[in-house]
Amino acid sequence: MSRIVSITLQNNDDARPIIEAIEKDNPDATVNLYPAMVKIDCDGRLIVKQETVEGLLGREWDVQELHLSIVSIAGNVDEEDDYFELSWNI
């Protein structure tokens, strides 16, 4: 049974630190490259942490800036001030 949650981001300068942060915080994530975009899959749960992105960017980063780079998602969304999380309840 597939439990893959997934986030697809544009492959551009705004998104690169987010992609890197996701790889750091979700060691099991698989990064798939497509023309112009990156699809990151993870089993059951995937988190984007504000702190990690800010560390990579060297500036404050509002989690909602994700809206500028997001292409698609799969999973139930939990959005907070300091993280954005996708999960399935399976």
Binding site: M1, S2, R3, I4, V5, S6, T8, Q10, Y34, P35, A36, M37, K39, E54, R59, E60, Q64, E65, H67, L68, S69, I70, V71, S72, I73, A74, G75, N76, V77, E79, E80, D81, W88, N89, I90
Partner: protein, 505 residues
């Protein structure tokens, strides 16, 4: 970043300030009269406060991010136009996918804006009302930015001049048009199930993601940019779709069978409409990203599998006929291309026989089916075309009463035999292309007997005249330019001239 400024309220509280306490219970008119549409469908809501807002974008943040997206998009559109971006696409055949997108898909964005404006008025709960109203604004932005981006191609290529006019009249555009008409004439909960859930959550990835990636691969900077700009809103829309489903299911168990039936219906209607996308991916992109089959496996089988496993705890099953739709992924793009190849004289875009390497790619991607069922036909048609006998089908096709696509789909276990289904209703016969479409008809025959089937309308004399050229003029086609085979078309001649100039330079 030690002294990070803390906002006074958390994100949940901020969003709650926006969406709660704005509504009130009316006193001099009963609530049921003020909101007459949100309970007749049979959906029982005990507590509108149980609505969980998935994305918590307050108005100030919404305007900030949307304006940033617009600035980025318009920088690219300007640059694309100033630098003659159309010269950088892989091949002029590619523009035909854009023609189909502009006439078939962009008007749906406008239909969505109308639909969400309507339902955004009709819910008595404030949470869903705000979400629908914001989505209505997004959808309007999508249709505007799409028309604006693609207008650059209209300066050079045929078939892009009358999209809204064509959307309302042309035979194959009745497929997407009737899909949205069906959704908008349903109640507000069915509308959200159809558009937000079945279409946006379950199926939209199949439309936008591989297609935009394909546009990128084919050098179409304008389309990539409007596509991704729209898609960044789409992630919010998808969560609205999932939320409305969970909301209905959590409110009352009597909602479950109604929601299941809507899912079954709209999944099937959605897959039928996406046939057009399958055809674009397998046949219309000169450089291909992935086959329709592969896109289906990633975005429906894998992503949909997890989604429906998640919803199983509410007693929801995967959509009926999902197994048939998965089998169809082997066939429908080829069958759809044949429909358009047959009737290109009546279409506002060109078709062609794929080149040898493209046929080889299809053979590789569809090893069990392409060589056996489809390649011999394409090679025969290629020979005929090269001998000056380009094949066209001169007689109008039979259409499915529900999806309105010509009855070109076969039985998936018998791919050489057309799939026929029919029903009797009040003494009349109605024909459908599949179990899925027949079930939809049989459940609400009163609705589908009103279908405006283009072929029947032509024969009734309601489409400009009795002869095909009269009908095409009524469609606003420039005959001999917008329609017919790609080889020898004005588009092809112009493109070849540009390429010749480039070589000389």
């Amino acid at each position: 970043m030690a002294e990070k400024r803390k906002k006074k309220l958390g994100i949940k509280q901020r969003y709650s300030m926006l969406t709660r306490g704005l509504g009130w219970d009316t006193t001099y008119q009963p609530m049921d009269k003020v909101f007459p549409y949100d309970n007749y469908e049979g959906i029982i809501i005990h507590d509108w406060e149980g609505w969980e807002d998935p994305f918590r974008l307050t108005m100030d943040a919404y305007w900030k991010f949307q304006s940033e997206k617009e600035k980025k998009l318009y920088a690219v559109i300007d640059s694309f136009a100033q630098n003659n971006g159309h010269l950088g696409i892989t091949d002029a055949r590619y523009v035909n996918a854009i023609k189909l997108f502009l006439t078939g898909v962009s008007p749906l964005e406008y239909q969505a804006a109308r639909g969400f404006t309507h339902v955004g008025r009709q819910f008595r709960g404030v949470g869903p009302r705000v979400a629908c109203q914001m989505q209505a604004i997004d959808e309007l932005r999508h249709v505007q930015t799409q028309i604006h981006s693609m207008s650059h191609y209209n300066k050079f290529f045929d078939g892009l001049h009358s999209a809204p006019h064509m959307h309302d009249r042309v035979w194959y555009l009745s497929v997407p048009k009737s899909f949205f008409d069906d959704a908008r004439t349903a109640g507000p909960f069915e509308f959200l199930t159809s558009i937000s859930f079945a279409f946006e959550y379950v199926l939209t990835n199949l439309l936008f993601v591989p297609f935009m990636s394909g546009a990128a691969f084919n050098g179409d900077m304008a389309t990539v940019t409007f596509g991704f700009s729209a898609q960044s809103d789409e992630a919010r829309h998808m969560t609205l779709g999932l939320e409305v489903i969970k909301f209905m299911l959590e409110q009352d168990e009597r909602n479950i069978p109604i929601v299941q039936r809507w899912m079954d219906k709209w999944f099937w209607r959605g897959t039928r409409m996406l046939t057009l996308v399958g055809m674009m991916m397998d046949y219309m992109l000169p450089k291909r990203v992935m086959s329709w089959r592969e896109a289906w496996d990633i975005y429906f089988t894998e992503a949909g599998g997890a989604l429906f496993a998640d919803l199983a705890r509410y007693g929801i099953k995967p959509p009926k006929y999902a197994d048939i739709a998965t089998k169809e992924a082997e066939h429908i793009s080829h069958q759809a291309w044949n429909i358009f190849y047959n009737y290109t004289h009546a279409a506002a875009f060109h078709t062609w026989i794929p080149e040898k390497e493209e046929l080889d790619w299809l053979s590789e991607k569809y090893p069990d089916t392409f060589d056996k069922y489809y390649r011999p036909r394409l090679e025969y048609l290629d020979k005929e075309e090269k001998a000056g006998r380009r094949f066209y089908n001169d007689i109008l096709p039979m259409l499915c009463q529900v999806c309105q696509i010509p009855m070109g789909f076969t039985d998936m276990d018998d791919p050489t035999t057309i799939s026929f289904h029919s029903s009797e209703y009040q003494g009349n016969k109605y024909h459908t292309c599949s179990h899925g479409c027949k079930d939809i008809f049989d459940y609400e025959p009163e609705k589908y007997v009103q279908a405006w089937l283009p072929v029947h309308q032509i024969y009734q004399g309601n489409c400009g005249g009795a002869e095909v050229p009269d009908v095409l003029k009524w469609y606003n086609f420039n005959l001999g330019a917008d329609n017919m085979e790609y080889q020898g078309s004005p588009d092809q001649k112009l493109w070849d001239e540009w390429q010749a100039h480039r070589k000389k330079a």
